[in-house]
């Protein structure tokens, strides 16, 4: 808290009786007080004397109401004329009025109430930010639903309409194949949406992690994919010591990074490869996923972690994958970096601390 008063004696007395329970800053004049507010944005309660040379307490409060709206303002003064009380309330928007000479119980009561109020207001602003974020995502959802669900659906409907015109079996087969792709894409979309929600809402379930086991299951899936697409696939894992984390988001991170590495290969390239290394040392896991794929345009790299962002016109992306990776990493206190060269490949580096 901050106490502003032009009599040094008052400041000393105030600080002396409260310093054990609170972190007290004092200021003898308004410029000092403003400097203190600027240096300590965590100040929650401000006490201010009304009569000071230069500006009055009301003027000071009126000013900081705008520039520092969060701290709770309390007037502490010996002058209790009605005018200044009215001004303090109407202009300074004060929370309490404490009369000098003060009794400790009054001050402490005022501080506790002010603190409660401060916390409630802070919580409200945090909730507001969360709400805004949820609302923005909902907006993106509306867009995405039209493109990623209604889009394929209308495509399939169009194909069914067209089926009446087609007699050629080969042509029909080709169309069925494309219809199947659209259906699969929608299915993937719904599954990623499920990932998205479980990441946003779920609590962490911390267990000891054996990276061999986490990757084993994915390895078998991607080994098949690697064979079919003629991609050289290499995994190396070294783990020294115990690592504690949540299994589900870890698996999601590995799965998405691997899936992207295979998905965005250059189909015409002769030397396709995906290489993953996992190294766990000193309670930090460092993961590299390196592909020789299409790469990401420099100007797009900053946006790839945004929800529904797709940097490639290939139909396979839903714009969920890397956003989910990022959300999972935020939950696990992890970091992600990306290096990419167009037409040469992309390397993702992920670091996750043991919890």
């Amino acid at each position: 808290m901050l106490y502003v008063d032009d009599e040094p004696g008052n400041l000393v007395g105030f600080k002396a009786s409260l310093r054990l329970d609170y972190h007290v800053f004092t200021a003898e004049n308004i410029p000092q007080a403003l400097a203190c507010l600027n240096d300590h944005p965590d100040i929650r309660v401000i006490f201010c004397d009304q009569r000071m040379p230069g500006k009055t307490g009301v003027d000071f409060f009126e000013e900081i109401r705008v520039s520092y709206p969060l701290p709770i303002r309390i007037m502490l003064t010996a002058y209790t004329d009605v005018e200044s009380i009215i001004d303090a309330i109407n202009k300074g928007n004060i929370f309490r009025f404490v009369k000098k000479p003060w009794i400790e119980a009054d001050i402490i009561g005022a501080i506790e109430e002010a603190n409660k109020f401060y916390l409630a207001v802070s919580m409200l602003s945090i909730k507001n930010i969360e709400l805004q974020k949820a609302y923005d995502e909902l907006n993106k959802f509306a867009y995405s639903v039209s493109h990623d669900i209604r889009g394929p659906l209308s495509g399939i409907l169009g194909a069914i309409n067209l089926a009446n015109e087609i007699d050629d079996v080969a042509e029909m087969r080709e169309m069925l194949f494309l219809m199947q792709k659209s259906v699969k894409k929608m299915d993937t979309y719904v599954l990623s949406m499920h990932d998205y929600y479980s990441l946003q809402r779920g609590e962490l379930k911390i267990t000891e992690i054996d990276f061999e086991k986490v990757i084993d299951e994915l390895k078998s899936i991607y080994t098949v994919l690697a064979k079919v697409n003629e991609v050289a696939f290499d995994i190396s894992i070294s783990q020294d010591g115990i690592f504690r984390s949540d299994y589900a988001p870890l698996r999601l991170i590995f799965n998405n990074l691997l899936s992207n590495a295979f998905k965005y290969q250059d189909r015409n390239s002769k030397n396709k490869s995906v290489k993953m290394t996992v190294e766990v040392a000193k309670s930090v896991a460092t993961i590299y996923v390196k592909d020789t794929g299409l790469g990401i345009l420099g100007s797009h790299v900053g946006e790839i972690f945004n929800l529904f962002y797709r940097s490639n016109s290939l139909e396979v992306g839903s714009g969920f994958g890397l956003y989910n990776v990022k959300s999972a990493l935020i939950k696990l206190n992890g970091q992600i970096e990306v290096k990419s060269i167009l037409h040469q490949g992309t390397t993702f580096k992920v670091t996750i601390p043991s919890i």
Partner: protein
């Protein structure tokens, strides 16, 4: 339909490209049908062919919601072509209309001269024929 057209289909969905192409093949007297899953690439090809004067008009069936370059960006870029290039083309917006579509955007895109109309997906023979009569 006795008038002949060429067609360019710009749609990021492979299935939609296929369906539209087949429907055009089955129900119009087309000269050529080209499909693009990337609007930027389509723009490049139009630029390359700018010097060639086509004997028949080309109808561009344009999806709006695409990653990379969307339909709105495409039309804005297309408008920058010189008039003698633009006169060979007619753009028809071909999209999924949803509650999320911004009416102001749609209205704006329809004010461009090259944009001749809007068809809602899925495409049917009737919608196609009524479009061809309009252009």
């Amino acid at each position: 339909m006795n008038i002949k057209f060429s067609f360019i289909i710009i749609d990021d969905s492979e299935l939609d490209c296929f369906v539209t192409q087949k429907l055009l093949e089955h129900s119009t007297k087309y000269v050529a049908i080209t499909t693009f899953q990337n609007a930027e690439y389509a723009l490049e090809i139009i630029r390359e062919n700018a010097a060639r004067n086509s004997p028949v008009p080309t109808i561009i069936l344009l999806d709006l919601q695409m990653p990379f370059m969307n339909g709105f960006d495409f039309v804005e870029e297309f408008e920058k072509f010189p008039a003698e290039v633009k006169k060979n083309y007619r753009i028809a917006i071909f999209t999924v209309l949803t509650a999320a579509s911004n009416p102001a955007d749609i209205h704006k895109i329809l004010t461009y001269q090259a944009v001749k109309g809007i068809i809602e997906k899925p495409l049917t023979k009737q919608k196609l024929l009524s479009l061809l009569i309009r252009v």
